[in-house]
C-alpha cells in the first residue's frame, strides 16, 4: 500500500505538496499512523490546499473505486469513496438514473463530494450533496469504523458532511439517485443587464426549472449596466433524443511557463461569451450542460506556472444586490479580471454539515489569475465585502483566506474541532487554525 513520497497538486495552484503516499486497494486496510498528519486525497479537484498535506501522509483514494450495490428499481447506489462521479454517470444514466446533485466537473470522487458538501445548479430545489447521502462508513485513526447516517451516529454524519476530510476517512457511501428518462436536458438562456434582473429571473425560474445558474461579465463594474447570461434547464421528458456528447478536446500536455490567459484576453473573452449567438432554447446532452470545462483536459494548465486562484463566496439574499455589486465592482476595477464568473441563488435548505458551505443566499465564483501581491490584495478586499455582508468563503476553492475570515464564515468550527480526527490534518486546516487573531 505504501508508495513512497509523491507530489500532490490541487487544481488551481502550481506548487506541489510532497507527501508520503498510501494507495489502499481494499476497504479492509489500516490507516498509517503519522503523527497527526494524515489526509484523504480524492481527485485533487479542489483549487487550494484543502486536499493537500505537505510533509504529512496522503491516502490516495483512487485505488478504492468499486461499486458495491446498485438497485436499479429504487436508485440506491453504494460505492467505495474513490469512485469518480464520471464513472457513476457512465453506469447509471443508461439505466435511467442521474446524480441527485453534481458540481461543475464530473472528475471528483464520491468522498470528495461529501467532504466539501458540494453543490450544483439545482441547489435551490435539491440542496447540496449531503442532502442525498443515506449513509457511509467512517474509518478513524484509532481503527474504529462507524456507519453514519441521519439516524445512526448522526453527530458524526453532520461533522463529516463538508468536514474537509478531517473527521476520518470515508471508505464507502450510499446515495439516493434521481430518476431521469435519458441524457437529454432542455435548456434555455436569456441575457440580462442588471443584477436585479438576475434575481428576478432566479425567482421566476425557482419552481419550474430544476437547474439555474448565470454567467456574468466581470469586467463591467456597474451592477445596473452588466452583461450576463441566465441559464435554466430541466431533464427532458421521455423519448427526447439527446444529441451526442461533444468529443473531448486535447488540453495542454504540460504547463507552459507563462499564462495563456493574459489580462488582455479577459475583456474580449467576456464580450464574446456574451455576444455569441445562442438559440434561446434547445436540447443538450448533460455533459456540455453541466460540465463545459471538462471537455478540455487539464485546462487549468492554461494559467501557466503561476496558476490561479478561485474566490467563491456566498452572501445572504437580503444584501445580495449591494454585496455582489461591490464584489464585481472591485474585480472589474482591477485589470486582473475574472475569465469565468458564475452567479447562482442558493435555496433555503438547512445545511446538513457543521462546516457546509452552501447556505441560503447568493453565491459568486470568480477565477483570478495569480499576479502576486495584487491578486492577494484584491481577494482580501473581496473577503472584507463578504464578511461585512455576513457571508462565507468556500474552503474547497480557497488557498489564502485569513483564519479570521474562515472562523467568521464557519462559526461552528469549534464544535467541529471536537469531531476532527486527532490523527488527521491538512495544509488548509493548519493555515486557518493558526493563532494569528
Amino acid at each position: 500500500m505504501t508508495e513512497g513520497t509523491r507530489q500532490y497538486r490541487s487544481w488551481g495552484r502550481p506548487d506541489a505538496a510532497l507527501s508520503r503516499a498510501f494507495r489502499p486497494r481494499w476497504r479492509d486496510f489500516e490507516l498509517p499512523g503519522d503523527e497527526g498528519r494524515v489526509l484523504p486525497f480524492g481527485n485533487g479537484r479542489s483549487y487550494g490546499d484543502s486536499c493537500l498535506n505537505p510533509g504529512g501522509s496522503v491516502i490516495d483514494m483512487r485505488g478504492l473505486d468499486r461499486f458495491i450495490s446498485f438497485d436499479t428499481e429504487t436508485g440506491v447506489l453504494a460505492c467505495e469513496a474513490g469512485v469518480l462521479l464520471d464513472e457513476i454517470l457512465r453506469v447509471i444514466v443508461p439505466r435511467g438514473w442521474f446524480l441527485p446533485v453534481t458540481p461543475g466537473t464530473r472528475f471528483v470522487t464520491l468522498g470528495g463530494a461529501i467532504a466539501n458538501d458540494v453543490h450544483g445548479k439545482n441547489h435551490h430545489l435539491a440542496g447540496s450533496f449531503g442532502h442525498h447521502l443515506r449513509r457511509f462508513e467512517l474509518l478513524r485513526s484509532d481503527g474504529t469504523r462507524r456507519i453514519c447516517s441521519a439516524d445512526e451516529n448522526a453527530d458524526w454524519f453532520a461533522a463529516t458532511i463538508g468536514g474537509l476530510g478531517l473527521t476520518g476517512l470515508i471508505t464507502w457511501a450510499e446515495i439516493a439517485l434521481k430518476p431521469v428518462h435519458g441524457p437529454a436536458i432542455e435548456t434555455e438562456v436569456e441575457q440580462f443587464t442588471d443584477l436585479d434582473r438576475f434575481l428576478e429571473l432566479s425567482d421566476a425560474a425557482h419552481d419550474d426549472f430544476e437547474y439555474t445558474a448565470a454567467w456574468i461579465d466581470s469586467t463591467r463594474p456597474d451592477p445596473g449596466d452588466m452583461r450576463g447570461l441566465f441559464f435554466r434547464g430541466n431533464h427532458a421528458p421521455a423519448g427526447t433524443p439527446a444529441p451526442a456528447a461533444p468529443r473531448p478536446l486535447p488540453g495542454p500536455p504540460f504547463t507552459p511557463p507563462f499564462s495563456m490567459v493574459p489580462s488582455l484576453v479577459v475583456r474580449p473573452f467576456n464580450f464574446l461569451t456574451y455576444a455569441k449567438p445562442r438559440a434561446p432554447r434547445g436540447i443538450a446532452h448533460y455533459e456540455p450542460f453541466f460540465y463545459p470545462l471538462d471537455r478540455v483536459a487539464n485546462w487549468n494548465r492554461l494559467f501557466g506556472r503561476r496558476g490561479f486562484f478561485q474566490h467563491q463566496s456566498v452572501v445572504p439574499r437580503a444584501v445580495a444586490r449591494e454585496a455582489v455589486g461591490a464584489l464585481i465592482g472591485k474585480v472589474a476595477g482591477t485589470n486582473s479580471g475574472s475569465t469565468l464568473s458564475v452567479l447562482k441563488v442558493f435555496g433555503d435548505a438547512t445545511p446538513r454539515g457543521l462546516l457546509s458551505f452552501p447556505r441560503p443566499g447568493v453565491t459568486l465564483a470568480l477565477d483570478i489569475p495569480d499576479r502576486g501581491a495584487r491578486s492577494l490584495e484584491l481577494m482580501a478586499d473581496l473577503d472584507r465585502v463578504v464578511m461585512e455582508a455576513g457571508g462565507a468563503i468556500y474552503p474547497a476553492k480557497d488557498a489564502r483566506m485569513d483564519p479570521a475570515v474562515f472562523r467568521q464564515g464557519f462559526p461552528r468550527w469549534q464544535e467541529f474541532e471536537t469531531y476532527r480526527d486527532p490523527g488527521f490534518s491538512s495544509g488548509f486546516w493548519r493555515r486557518v487554525m493558526e493563532e494569528n487573531l
Partner: protein, 245 residues
Amino acid sequence: MTNVLIVGAASAIAEATARLFAEEGCRLFLVGRRAERLAVLCDDLKSRGAEQTASHELDMNDFEGHEAMLAAAENSIGPIDIAYIAHGTLPDQKACQDDVDLTLQEFRTNALSTIALLTRLANDFERRRTGTIAVITSVAGDRGRESNYVYGAAKAAVDSYLEGMRQRLHKSGVRVVTIKPGFVDTPMTAAFDKGLLWAKPDAVAQRIHRAITKGGDVIYVPAFWRLIMLVIRSIPRRIFKAIKL
C-alpha cells in the same frame, strides 16, 4: 453472450480488464486467492453491467485444484469463450540467488502453475474448436537480465509454451494471445519510483481488451515496448554481459 474466465482476478491489471468485459455484459468467473476480495470484485462488476459473476478461491500453486476450478467455472457460467490468465508475483531476485526453494517457488507461481492450467485449457478449447486463451507474461521474458532473471526465465518459459500452443491450436480456430506489459503502476510495483515509462492499469487494460476481442498474437503494452525490447535483444552478447540492466 461471452463467458470469461479470469485467473488472478484481484490483480490490478486483471481488474481493469474485467471492467471492460463487464461493460459489454459478459459473464465472468473470477479466480483468486482470497474469497472476500473476489466478492468485492463480483459486486463491482455486476453493477458495471456483467450479466453474471461468480468466483472461486484457489491458490494457483495447488495444481490439483485446477480441474475442479474449471469444472466449477463451466457449471456456473457455461463453456468458457475467453480464458485470461493474469496471476503472478515479482520475485526478490537477490533473495532468490541465496535460496533454491524460493527460486523454485517463484518459478512454480510464474511458470508452472500457468503451464499446468494451459495444458488443460488447450485440450478443452481444441475439442470445442473455439475461443481465445490470453496470458500475461512480461517484457522481462524477452531477455534475461541480472536484476530479475528468475522472473524473466519463468515468463520466457510461458512465452515459448504459448508460441507452440498457438501453432497447435491455430488449426482448431482457437486464438492464443501473449500479453507483454512493460512497467505498470500496480501493487506489484508499488515500491518503485515511477517515471515516464510507466503506464496505468486502465490504459494497459484497454489495449489488452482490444487484442483479446479484436485480434493480435503477441502484444506489447504499451506498444512502444516492442521497440525497446527489440533494441535490448539486439545488443551483442559480449557487450550485454558487461552492462548493468
